[in-house]
């Protein structure tokens, strides 16, 4: 349900990083599996809240970041596509995770962009 607030923060961030006259075509978002954030719910609120903003008509792609897990019991490493607390190799519940809390705006694709605002000076533009 907090996806509505997350999309509001996302739209603020996109507006801050979009050159004045430009329109946003596409927004890429990356979500970690341990955040509890629902990609479907993000989509729903994005479609609703983008109206009247620079994102009006833009699409959003949400990527779920795979989980990098390490088993403290048998020492193996695993890449998980869904959350599991039990090691796939030894069956013990001794997994620790190297990530999973990501909630990132990866990139935006804009039309007629002539530059980027100061807040994103470290960003790279690609043709």
């Amino acid at each position: 349900m907090h996806e509505a607030s997350i999309v509001e923060s996302l739209l603020d961030l996109v507006v801050q990083n979009t050159p004045g006259s430009a329109r946003v075509r596409r927004v890429d978002v990356r979500v970690g599996l341990l955040t509890g954030v629902s990609p479907d719910s993000l989509q729903l609120y994005f479609e609703f809240l983008r109206e009247g903003t620079v994102c009006d008509g833009a699409e959003m792609a949400v990527t779920l970041q795979p989980l990098l897990a390490h088993c403290e019991n048998c020492g193996t490493d695993h890449t998980l596509r869904e959350v599991d607390w039990v090691c796939p190799a030894c069956g013990q519940g001794a997994l620790t995770f190297r990530n999973g809390d990501e909630l990132h705006l990866e990139s935006i694709e804009v039309d007629n962009g002539e530059g980027i605002h100061a807040g994103a000076a470290d960003s790279q533009a690609q043709q």
Partner: protein
């Protein structure tokens, strides 16, 4: 012509910035801040009532109450004579750092040593929002089932302690304490676990002692 800007920014960056401002403010004033989160009805306000009765003997305390509607919880705290401010979120399912910052304007924190923030009853949404607190506590209760940590891992992973409340009901509910501990520690191996009853008062002194210990560790640092 289309251009792609690689941004790699945290979506909740603004909330984190305000949370850091809050934390710096708390540190400057010497206030230790503890937040409580749980499903609705696990006993956050009851735990506060019982704990404040003990803690206020030693410390100057205050409370920020978060609810979707009504000031009923704030009135319960007020009845104890503890300074309290109610944040009514009007539908929003969590507190955020800005709401806490707004609430602080209505609370005299100058001489306060310990401040509790009771979040909106919800095990999902509050997990994503840093409020600037020093300690996060999650409650679960014996009427909810043992598997809450596995179902709502974000909240349990980001908390330093879990309070298992309503242990006085253990004879009447099919709740396995050992299983609940195992599941919680699977999600967060460093979680401190307290077993309490706000009806009998069991476990409340141990919980309060731990809060005081954490507070003194922080002020010594």
């Amino acid at each position: 012509m289309a251009k792609v800007f690689t941004l790699e920014q945290r979506i909740l960056k603004r909330n984190s910035e305000v949370a850091e401002e809050n934390r710096r403010g708390f540190d400057a004033q010497g206030v230790f801040v503890v937040s409580l989160a749980s499903s609705p009805g696990s006993g956050k306000t009851s735990l506060l009532e019982k704990s404040l009765a003990l803690l206020r003997e030693e410390l100057s305390v205050g409370v920020v109450e978060g609810d979707v509607q009504t000031d009923r919880d704030a009135r319960r705290i007020e009845a104890l004579g503890v300074p309290v401010v109610q944040v009514v979120t009007n539908g929003t399912c969590h507190l955020d750092a800005q709401m806490v910052q707004g609430a602080l304007a209505h609370l005299e924190t100058g001489r306060m040593e310990l401040l509790f923030i009771e979040n909106v009853g919800n095990l999902v949404c509050p997990a994503a929002y840093d409020l600037g607190e020093h300690l996060r506590i999650v409650l679960s209760s014996t009427t909810e089932g043992e598997d809450k940590p596995l179902k709502y891992p974000a909240m349990f992973r980001r908390s330093q302690a879990m309070v298992l409340n309503k242990i006085d009901l253990l004879p009447y509910v099919p709740f396995d304490l050992a299983e609940a501990r195992t599941m919680a520690l699977r999600v967060n191996p460093s979680l401190e676990i307290f077993e309490t009853s706000c009806t009998t008062g069991a476990g409340i002194p141990e919980f309060c002692q731990w809060i005081v210990q954490k507070l003194s560790e922080t002020s010594a640092a």
